[in-house]
Symmetry: D3
Subunit: 236 residues, 6 copies
């Protein structure tokens, strides 16, 4: 039995709030169950050196965990003077994924910075960051009248094999006991952007892989409805 | 005229929310006008090396600004690999101040970590961090039944001289044009913990100093009422 | 047409040399086409702090690229004072994968260090590191009479979609033009350890994913034969 | 009774030597009791990026403690690879204070570097650095014929409450037992540049604050006479 | 008796292989006994800032030890985030020495990077790096038709006093027991580039110094023959 | 003609002052011409990890250049967060040299830290650091009654070939134009501790090497008289 009697293919409750803070061009609070992430988007009038003169803009992402987001305090990386390997891995994934939301050729001269800061962690922080980050990207583009550069909502979810069951949207107690943990990022109904799966315990088979893929498709499709809905009413 | 027709000795609207996130022992969202800071308190079963065997506990603080908290993106210090001088200065002030809230002799074997992360900045982030942090300290002590070690609410506010006027609780547009900017921390009605004042423009005189002190006393007294009120009703 | 008229499901020439250098317990030179990696294994009598008293040993991996391994010089990370995000991501993948080769419960008190240093790069350096690293692990375990802790050869290969074709074992000119680039790690004929796929260009579909998986299974099965063969004759 | 029967409002013996070393444009050895600091001033033909084109020059300060300056060796910060929070806090204070000595509008294109290195420490090293630094600033400006940009001597002193007494110019044994420790910087007889006070033990009241301010005025006025006197005779 | 009955003035077996890897302009594997170093040379179209406009090119060197090169694993400096003092000292020596091989005035606009990575260590890695590096320099210059800028082969060897005997080309077991350890670099038969000698045990006398110098002259002369021979046959 | 009509084999004026500052166990100001270095010695009750239980004590050295010591300001290494290669090289030389002054077997449980900080630089700072450091070592040993562990004064001097002449004790204008620059460290009249020579311009011959050695012997012998003389009268 999953926590809260959740079905194997059921997402936790999802909420996405636009305009969460007011100084960034895009600012989103995404809550997926007890996981809460602030995703902001800032647009700067510059591109990295390797793109100067290329006619292309850029999008990059950074990720952080507030020290109080976890039950055991998470050491502040700024104080340690170094981002951990885990953080680096996650923010590279977020950046790669969200670059698929935008047509960089329409953003010449601009860099979009996405900052994903986890204020409460309960599993799935990297996928929540991607899903919320995509909303912040569109909000920021709208704020400068560049929404034509938006290609669609990238959505992301974790799936896994826990106690022999393939499950959608793992929360922390599941994630820490999973045999397989997989993060999947999609742009449309059968368009994969990224798939990262690891067998932490028992190995997984081709058949299980296909089951996990199907679960993820279902979950991401639902997330994309939440993302779309945010823009169907005026933001605060 | 101050922004929003505020009186010279008037605080911005204040709200303090306990139990803002659920994993940390104490978790507070403090909003003073448009400045918003998440303050969490975590208690660990250890003390720094220099206190081992001393019979004393410890309290330390760290401060951060989320990159999207400011209009122009604030570089992530974890990514730069270094906390700025400003950050170091601020977190040392927060730590020194909040250590006055607690009787370290009653906390042998424990370290309280206070993390203050600014999610939206409009002036006065360090004083809001202290004021909110004191609430998080008490909430955390209550969670472990150690509230007897709490000595009282430390409150903090900025005061300054702007356009020739002494003003309470500077917001960003005032702070950036102030001749004098002063941060004051008090534990009770005439008990100073810390005073840090800088003449950014015109020098200030002894008389002006006394006026600023009086303004701060008034403001901190009001903040201490807000701090107390948070505990007069059950937390969520 | 692939370079050197290679078939779509054909590996580049593979050679694996044991005992390549003599000071490390395990030392392997693996060449897959023009990609050449030195993989060494060292066994130390210690475990990381988080495993002390747990009854478990540990295996960890580090990855580096010699500055002269690439056509354009690759900046020495030791001189820059920091491993890049790419390096960190790769060595975490190598470590996770190779831990599946060994029964950590039989290695209490020991840490196996795998060092993978690329001396010539032509695509697929991370998968070559895993495949060669597994050989170094067994060689090192044999040197201390602990081969019973070896669970089997983990093999790894890249697959991808290039010019609309699914291809096995991408070399650099293919990799840099791939629409999809995927690294797959397996322990046995249908046991996946890790799958990491990224759509760099066009998105990939579930069907394409299955084709890529099949290619990888074929390639890894061949690599495992090469790994096994190394131990069928006495090492130098 | 204070050490050496010093009066509560009495400075320790003060000496200020110009031209202490010969390569820097300004070079001062300031001794206040047993605290000895070398303050040098160097003028470079450049301004920081944020001032380019602004018509303004700049002044910045750095502070260090020689490892042998204290009874227990003070770890060399260059070897540790990091300036401590205390050092950062001090050098920011010195820089802010000494910028008040000069009219930056008359120094377009120049940066003055002030380096304060403590060779022997006995309390009050940051205020001695400011007082000595101001002398080095004028010496350096004289060396390039820019003395018209000098606005006056900033002086600084510590005051505090020790054993219930308000005292001027705390030495180390007093400082380490003080209930309140305050550093005050002034430019003229009632012009405050900076005030930083901390209650280390008992809190301080408004009345005590005023007493400390009066002590500091007296002490700084005397220091300014010493600063002036250095230029009344030709330097060596 | 020396290991392998080697004579006091006898080099270990020497082999130098050109074109060891194919991406760098120059790539050499030098083996001196059991010491094996990969030396690559890369030419970039840029010079350091301090040489811009000077009409001069530049040559610089970096040195590294693969973690598996030594019996006890050598910590990876990229992972520690810092090159050790020993590494810095060695690569400065290599760079200074190899700059004597080339006429920098003929290399305006170019920087030659020499990377020396030890894959197996048995004493004398820094002198092997210099000797092999000189070969890589010429190979790289030939690859761009700039061989006229080559001034000759710098050769380097260690000499020392072990068990009261002056010996040529110390291997590790000798080096770690030497009373005196000296590294000597020469460009021609009586032209010294560098001499670095340290008495680790008993002090050395002027007379012993002269004996060591004579041994080094003999050894370097032989090494220069090996260097020359590499270019007497076409490279692979 | 040398500056100040100095003879080719003549030292600059030498002065060595004991007890220069009062907190360190040994504190020396050494002036050789216009080069001035503060050398302090501190004794701590600990040894590095690699010596625990060995019965041996340790001596280590650190070197720094005050920013104002040179005509062009020398960047503060603590602020840059890194010691330069030159600094690391120098302090390793100082440490190796001064360890020859003491019998480490008589210092079990103790580490002597030597800190050499250049307050004014005019060539020869590393050799002045060694010569002054040896005096600080003895002063510190006397302060704890351990002078029996002192083996004698190590002295050091630079020699070089400038304008075709072999010269003793190069000052900055000579050093920066030298063809050969050599630093020599000796413990007694024919006992070499270290020799480090570099041909910056023309190569040097065996014969020139011998001339330089002779000059150094003469200079070091004189320096050892200065070192001895410091202890022939009571320190202040």
């Amino acid at each position: 039995m999953r926590p809260n009697s959740r079905g194997l293919d059921e997402l936790r409750p999802v909420s996405i709030e636009r305009g969460f803070t007011r100084n960034a061009a895009g600012s989103v609070l995404i809550c997926i169950g007890d996981t809460k992430v602030i995703c902001t988007a800032t647009i700067e009038n510059d591109v990295p050196r390797f793109l100067r003169g290329s006619g292309q803009g850029w999008l990059t992402a950074e990720y952080g965990m507030l020290p109080g987001a976890t039950t055991e305090r998470f050491d502040r990386e700024a104080a340690r003077g170094k981002q951990s390997g885990r953080t680096v891995e996650i923010q590279r994934l977020i950046g790669r994924s969200l670059r698929r939301c935008v047509d960089l050729n329409q953003l010449d001269g601009f860099t979009i910075y996405i900052d994903c800061d986890v204020i409460q962690a309960d599993g799935g922080t990297r996928t929540a960051s991607i899903t919320g980050g995509a909303v912040a990207v569109l909000e920021a583009l709208l704020s400068v009248g560049r929404e034509s550069a938006f290609l669609g909502f990238v959505g992301a979810i974790s799936v896994g094999i826990v106690e022999g069951e393939t499950r959608l949207d793992l929360e922390y107690v599941e994630d820490s006991n999973a045999d397989t943990d997989m993060n999947i990022v999609m742009l449309n109904s059968d368009g994969f952007v990224e798939i990262q799966g690891t067998a932490e315990g028992a190995l997984f088979s081709s058949e299980e892989l296909n089951d996990l893929i199907d679960l993820a498709k279902k979950g991401i499709s639902e997330l994309q409805s939440y993302q779309q809905a945010v823009f169907d009413v005026p933001s605060t």
